[in-house]
Assembly symmetry: C2
Homo-oligomer: 404 residues x 2
């Protein structure tokens, strides 16, 4: 005997990935709609390493106000305009399909209870908002059985957190800046699937910040308003790089991908430094990671790794699986036994590492020292797929949140 | 009885100052003639703190090849195209006046012996080439009794070391980039004399570099060739800043002077970071100095100090004499008793310092720690005059070099 809609808890659960941009999003042309000044491109990281798990549920008997519980903590949803904007857009789409088919349960009228958990500590310094909003939008869209594609939903996720739109897809994902005022053409597109170039790997060097960073929303507004160099980046440099890196991805041309990635990271941080007051996200340990990558590439005689830095000191180092020993092996040797985070789904090729990858006398000794002292944890991962629908619900059949 | 020209040693001795740019010279449009991509502007620093002392001498009986002795070490003058270019230009001007007046001794035909000493250690990390070439050109011009003005001579000094052209004058000095291919309009001009705004002070925080920097000649060529943001700086940003800072100097408007100085330093280092491979001159200690300056200005509630960084990690902090306690006092309190270099001609207002300037709880504690650990020496100085003719010869009447 099926429960009546009045007592039933409707649920949908999804995972969503983290993404790390190789062409950076920095600067909004519209702060309310989260419309960027330039297009960006990212690699979706494997959910075997990092993922957000989110259950969206609704029931007629839930308390009237929508609820959101993140990592066990109830959030004040009413104070988050961005969350409210996402939920309003999703409800409106649900209302459309309910209006056209009266047999459907009127879920749009039910209060929501959304429960979400990250499998990685916030202290890892990885922006979790992208995965978080992507999971929220995907889960509610699944709950509402919306017909919209990931591309369509990316418009909604974008309003939650700009870069969240890129976490709705796997592989290599572009966020087209678009040009329309209503933002309807500002959305994410898969440039290439994970299976097109599955060998991409990434190791994140987790560097503790000396000081709390300028939050990225505030920082990017400062840059747009004050940097004399920013307009050149947004209007000239990035469009050329977008074309070039898409070609590199299509051709699986790692050296080209790597150089564009490094140059875009440097150019983004250059506009931060050119802001007023200046914004610094990279520190001496970050710069040591830059030097290490250049030293490894020089020692090997070809480009086997590249760095990129978001709005913080952590280095994300991309490389291809075949070069694991040369890149991750060298880093592991430098960081030594005490460094954490190596084990996991991507550990296998490093397990029986005998040689140190690149001989350490090829690396500047001060670089080695800075990394050894400044990096205590890594995250070893690789390119991955987009959100996945799962049955591991965080809300039980009665509607109660389950805390893992 | 006067010595005959054959046995006489002709001598002229001058001092020359260091200058620190507030609008940076970075990028050559002609590497042989040392023609810059953009104009620049500097403050000439007092020779009571830092100076090069140079004697130019010539005698018919000197060995045939010109000699140059720097800080007691004979230099291989033939391998320094830049030195040869300066000497050839000066000799040519001497030849012109000898041709028009046959009563003059034919000094242009005599070999030169030039002896030069800095009163500051190279380890201080201050580019000594500007003062060195300015002193060399000024001393030889004096030896040759050339009628050319400092402005005219700056064209010659520029060929030795670009920024040397600005050390031929005191006060506030612009180097006009010029546009002619032969470089004849690329020269230095005094924007304002020392006496126009004599209250300008500077404290140099000497920061040891973690690694040898990319030499500036190489670095600037890399930036011009590779930075996507550099052209905007050279063609748009700097020309506007030159106008604005000249106005600030004319009006003795320290807050405007300070903000332009800080922004230009940041913009210059931004183009370094945007170069390929990236160039880093500032380190965590440099960035702590940046934060300190912003913290002091915020705590005081007005702009009382500004930072600027050349191609290295040292901070040069400008302030006005009346704000000595607030700026130098705060820095002295932070660096503590063990820091060296405070005493000297500018020490007086700090001697009986009772208050720490700005209360240290107004400064980020990590900033204090980084500066305390990373800065062991300061140079306390201020705006100063241009080269001065002196009798403190480094070559005796017999033509022998005197080593102090």
């Amino acid at each position: 005997m099926a429960a009546s809609p009045d007592s039933k808890v409707f649920r949908a659960t999804t995972t969503a990935p983290v993404n790390i941009a190789v062409i950076k999003y920095w600067g909004k042309r519209d702060a309310v709609l989260n419309l960027p000044t330039n297009s960006s491109l990212s690699v979706t990281l494997s959910q075997r390493s990092l993922r957000t798990l989110t259950t969206a549920s609704c029931a007629s008997f839930y308390p009237a106000q929508d609820e959101l519980i993140l990592n066990g903590k109830p959030q004040d949803i009413q104070s988050s305009k961005r969350t409210l904007a996402c939920l309003a857009s999703l409800r409106s789409l649900r209302r459309e399909i309910e209006a056209s088919d009266s047999s459907l349960p009127q879920l749009s009228a039910f209060p929501l209870r959304i429960v979400s958990e990250n499998n990685f500590p916030t202290a890892a310094g990885l922006a979790s908002s992208a995965a978080g909003f992507a999971a929220l939008v995907r889960a509610v869209a699944d709950l509402y059985q919306l017909p919209q594609s990931a591309r369509d939903l990316s418009r909604i996720a974008r309003q939650g957190s700009g870069s969240a739109c890129r976490s709705l897809m796997g592989g290599y994902v572009a966020w087209r800046a678009g040009s329309l005022e209503d933002g309807s053409d500002s959305l994410a597109e898969e440039v290439a699937s994970q299976s097109h170039w599955p060998e991409m790997r990434a190791v994140v060097l987790v560097v503790s910040a000396e000081k709390k960073d300028v939050p990225s929303t505030e920082g990017m507004q400062t840059t747009v308003a004050t940097s004399n160099l920013f307009a050149t980046r947004a209007t000239t440099v990035v469009p050329e790089r977008m074309d070039a890196i898409e070609t590199a991805i299509q051709n699986r041309d790692f050296p080209a991908f790597a150089e564009i990635t490094m140059r875009d990271s440097n150019g983004f941080h250059a506009t931060c430094l050119d802001s007023w007051p200046p914004i610094f996200y990279m520190n001496d340990v970050s710069r040591a990671a830059v030097r290490l990558v250049h030293d490894i590439n020089r020692a090997v005689g070809r480009t086997v790794c590249s760095y990129t830095f978001d709005a913080g000191p952590n280095a994300v180092i991309y490389y291809l699986e075949k070069d694991t020993e040369l890149v991750a092996g060298t880093i592991k040797t430098i960081l030594g036994e005490k460094s954490e985070g190596w084990e996991g789904p991507f550990y296998e090729p490093l397990k029986n590492l005998t040689a140190p990858g690149v001989a350490l006398d090829q690396v500047d000794p001060r670089t080695v020292e800075l990394l050894k002292d400044g990096v205590s944890r890594v995250i070893l991962t690789g390119v991955g797929e987009g959100p996945v629908s799962v049955d591991d619900h965080l809300v039980n059949e009665k509607g109660d949140a389950i805390y893992h």
